[in-house]
């Protein structure tokens, strides 16, 4: 496929379709890294990914349904931090607030290791002129309005994304 402008910078087009903490990282990391390399970047936020455009982010991670998730503690001695706790599924499912606890621990672990927060990465994307596009159809389905999302984002549909992606060098669905 020939680009209409051969001198145009490289372009990355991403679809962010999930709204959990673990799935929020890949699109924002790739978008900010590409922006830092001088690429044009557009991210289309659809379905649960659309919630990543809310002003206050409440992303959570759930160990339920993620059996590969390491269950480690972000404090204590190195030996203690390296223990992968074998927590039974029954317990994770039935203890109220388990997701909130797992989310708090994971955020703490990320902070300890020097990983930027989702909020920081999203702001970095905005600073690098990454286009953040919210899905109109998802808004209609879940009853969201324009004012529920950050003012910097655009709203568009499948055609908007496809036109942008058709001239992209890298396209990924996340």
């Amino acid at each position: 496929m020939a680009k209409s402008d051969p001198n145009a910078p490289k372009r990355l087009a991403l679809i962010a379709s999930k709204g959990t903490l673990d799935w929020a990282y890949p699109p924002f990391i790739l978008a900010s890294a590409a922006g830092a390399m001088g690429w044009e970047v557009g991210v289309f936020f659809t379905f649960f990914g659309l919630t990543l455009l809310k002003p206050i982010l409440t992303t959570q991670v759930t160990p339920i349904g993620n059996p590969a998730m390491p269950m480690k503690m972000p404090f204590g001695s190195d030996g203690f931090q390296n223990i992968n706790w074998p927590i039974p599924q029954m317990l994770m499912t039935n203890v109220p607030g388990f997701n909130a606890l797992a989310t708090t621990l994971m955020k703490q672990m990320f902070e300890n290791k020097g990983v930027a927060s989702i909020e920081e990465l999203r702001q970095t994307c905005l600073d690098l002129d990454v286009r953040l596009i919210g899905c109109q159809m998802t808004m209609d389905v879940f009853g969201f309005k324009r004012e529920h999302f950050i003012k910097e984002c655009e709203i568009g549909g499948a055609a908007t994304f496809l036109e942008y992606a058709s001239e992209a060098d890298v396209q990924l669905f996340i």
């Binding site: 900010s32 890294a33 922006g35 830092a36 390399m37 001088g38 020097g114 930027a116 600073d127 690098l128």
Partner: protein, 80 residues
């Protein structure tokens, strides 16, 4: 070699993980004049390959990279 190159600005990305070192470098390089040199420190083991990729993509020159006191050190020249 490290002592020969004279940097114009220093950026410390110690403790930061991907993608922050390349993000910080891309911001810092814009504050330099063309031809000036940025010295960057990082501890992320992913930084050496990422800085090489960043340099190829942005066409800024990764002049020299080494390790110093357990840290990765990069010298980058703004080319455009």
């Amino acid at each position: 070699m490290v002592d020969v190159i004279k940097e114009d600005q220093i950026l410390d990305c110690s403790g930061m993980l991907c993608p922050m070192p390349v993000v910080k470098v891309s911001k810092a390089i814009k504050t330099l004049e063309i031809g000036q040199i940025l010295k960057m420190f990082a501890t992320d083991p992913g930084a050496p390959p990422d800085m090489e990729a960043w340099s190829r993509q942005t066409r800024h020159e990764l002049m020299y990279s080494t390790q110093e006191n357990g840290k990765f050190v990069f010298f980058i020249r703004r080319l455009k």
